[in-house]
Symmetry: D2
């Protein structure tokens, strides 16, 4: 049994659903999941489809070629096809905060995440013992004002060496430059500790406290060139009151950050996220 | 332009999606929405599809006949096809509480609801002025222990006279008997003022207060023979604390009841709900 | 039985709680509610207290004088004392949107709100029928670029004539100038249709749609000179997704606006809100 | 500086607040926190108070004696006084599930919890490595039908040996008998994986799935003789849909369980919970 996940977007046009489903049927595929969305403002069609092929002789690369020639060119599709069995490889970048790291590794250990974590990277050495207790290689790549570019080159070497599919910044306290972003477009997931677009930048809990908001939040998004302005994958909030100090906000926020980031990782790893014009379509 | 909504469920089987989408394409239909669900426990396939037909000569009854012969028999489908333009007719049953009534009529007036309300019916005469201020016919059908059956016969006459599609019990404080339920299966929507299955029956806020719960809720469901045990359409909750008296719970609960019931009405009126084995599939 | 509500804030200092409670006891008052908060950042003490006096001869003005001399001067207190029986008078300002108006009047009619609504004022005449159906005087005071000041003078006359305690802007689509704000400091409640400080200003739902947020919100706050930057009383949010159009956001937002504004009104009318340095302390 | 926390409940009566605050002032105490609640149904007064004593010679046992004689007898108070500096000692009971254990130990390590964990106890040996990685003693006390009482005697010995204040059942899959409950009344905290009182007993996620609820929850409560019927400390819920399998409910539920149990632990450890007539008053 071979199973694929197909993601498509294109200009909205008639018969696109029937054509794709028909193509799968003709190639002995049985569609087990289909979901679609039309962005009426921009006139863009999005589709996510899971299809099973029973044939022993199914070859995914051959199938991709066929799909490309038969359908993708005709409808001018942007598309991706994944083997549903292949777990994506995720690199984990951290600094000194350990709550998201613990949360992700706990879920990873219990089999909750459909992915592999080949290594953890940090600009500090503090969290190495945690990585070691989970038996995951840990690379310490210090970042200073002066060595930023060479540090990112070192990072890129590791990402290529381990054949990494996407990167998660689990409270990684460095700004990632375009050098890396361009090589992993919509593949670097960050957790920001506010409900964006409120409180962009540093110290959002302090700003939230100062403003006297009654709700704090966390946002997971793909990073882009503009700080904290990339496509939002997941957000959640919790109520607070005047009784909460800044430390209370930080503590309550940690719980939000953990869950919001984990949910975003699951959505991405399960190929449920599409990005278009700095917004996401989430097929959950 | 003709637009239909198709709802299907059947035993899960290969090629069902491709066959249906292909059928639509062959009949010059353009699918503008498709969503599907497979219940793996029960091996049942569900699908909701919206399709546009540009042809001037499209005739929905003819199309239904064609669909039935070409597809429904082959796959042993349970199916319904609605003209997307036809607003369903909803009868509103109330007693003395007015908050859900006000909420529904306010939304109705502002054009938020895709439905018609041909009449309001009550076992009391108290809310007649509200119906009149919204220019909707109001029928007072008193219910006592002795006249229950004749009252329901009177209700049925009105429902048939106005060609009613579904009924909403907006805090209607009478138990509806099988006589009516059987004639409107999965078409009578109730709002129960607890998060079912907790606090079935009368006075759920009093029971919630007594139990000392930290959350209260409201549940909208289709009524069935067993009290408060029908398929759940929508639920929501709010946090409470020891500081809330029973009256506070009732006041907070009113806000939940209004929103949960309105959401359930919208889902049903927009043909987004399917029922199978006392559970709902919501294509929202 | 006479009951008062006392609100205090002052620099934090020893023995303030014991001194106040002692004062009440000495004057034959029985404290039935006490809550307090210390803002450690600013070193400010806040207290809310309800006290009952059984004596027939209790005179609130005399008591205020005594409190002022005996305690307020000694501890350099900022304080307010309200008769718990006196309902505050609330003026309701609207424009063309009716959802918050309907919601407030429905709650008012059912006795849910501890306040009086002597009149409704609007810069348009559209909502007059709703005011009339609830038997509340309606004043149409048009506002243009040229007559802004004279319009606010007319408003002030009405506010003074009716002895208004606080104003609620229930989607009133005009900017209120300092002329009125200065006369009702922290007494003009607005509902803004976003989770502030995100999406300040006009068309927040459009901005939220454009940014692709997964959460929308509503914020009730006291207006101050700076637009949408006043002390926040209440906020709430709801989850949204890529499937929601701008119209869907607006519709979902209406439900948030209604509940958030009603909650803010209740908190204010029940004297549960204190303001200090552009933030609120909510004794709920 | 000495700081105490005082918890009181008694029949509601005049002057109780003033008398207590006055007593503190007379003994050179400065009240830094006070909160109170009156249960009008049962006519019971509850108070929580934090008070600082600057005197070098302050002796808590002496103060307790004075309080007992001067106030407690007069007002017939039920009361407890804690030194605010003394961290309570918490025993952690687990079975095979590790998510709550990881969550608690992570928070413990990061200093988020005001308590000590002298040991972890389990009826299985599976989680020993986690305990060891956090350097906490782990006791394996197997429980069978035949050895239940001797197992609980062994547990009691450990609880006494380590001077334990309260017990947390972090998904401990054994029913605790009255033998232990009676020795730790309202001091054994359980996490139940449903929004009680719905889905009492075993396999609540399976029951929730079968019932087709749109919300699942978790409840933390003190255990009492009746299963899952003890005083509720904390509850939370999350929305689910027909797309979620039982495994999905279990995965989503784990996140709820972790946060609800941690919050309950914090409330208890910080002496913010009072129990009366099987309900809690939470001074948060």
């Amino acid at each position: 049994m071979n199973k694929i996940t197909l993601l498509i977007h294109c200009k909205d046009q008639p018969n696109i659903i029937a054509s794709v489903t028909n193509f799968m049927a003709k190639n002995n595929g049985n569609i087990v999941y289909i979901d679609q969305h039309v962005d009426r403002e921009q006139d863009i069609f999005f589709m996510r489809l899971e299809c099973e092929f029973i044939s022993d002789s199914f070859a995914i690369e051959e199938f991709k070629g066929l799909f490309s020639k038969s359908l993708a060119e005709k409808f001018n599709l942007k598309w991706r096809i994944y083997s549903a069995e292949r777990k994506p490889k995720m690199a984990l970048f951290v600094s000194k905060y350990d709550h998201c790291l613990y949360d992700i590794l706990g879920r990873y250990n219990s089999g909750e995440l459909f992915l592999e974590i080949p290594f953890i990277l940090s600009n500090h050495d503090d969290l190495r013992p945690i990585a070691e207790s989970f038996n995951i290689p840990y690379y310490h790549v210090p970042v200073t004002k002066d060595n930023k570019h060479s540090a990112e080159q070192k990072q890129l070497e590791l990402l290529e060496q381990y054949n990494i599919d996407f990167i998660v910044l689990a409270r990684y306290m460095q700004i990632v430059s375009n050098f890396l972003i361009d090589k992993f477009p919509n593949k670097i997931i960050n957790i920001h500790h506010s409900f964006l677009p409120a409180f962009v930048g540093a110290k959002p809990y302090h700003s939230a406290y100062k403003r006297g908001v009654k709700i704090i939040g966390a946002t997971s998004h793909y990073i882009t060139e503009e700080l904290d302005a990339g496509p939002i994958i997941e957000q959640d909030v919790t109520h607070v009151s005047h009784t909460h100090s800044i430390d209370d906000l930080i503590a309550k926020g940690r719980d939000l950050e953990k869950i919001v980031l984990s949910n975003a990782i699951k959505l991405h790893a399960n190929r449920k996220v599409m990005v278009f014009n700095n917004k996401t379509v989430i097929f959950s």
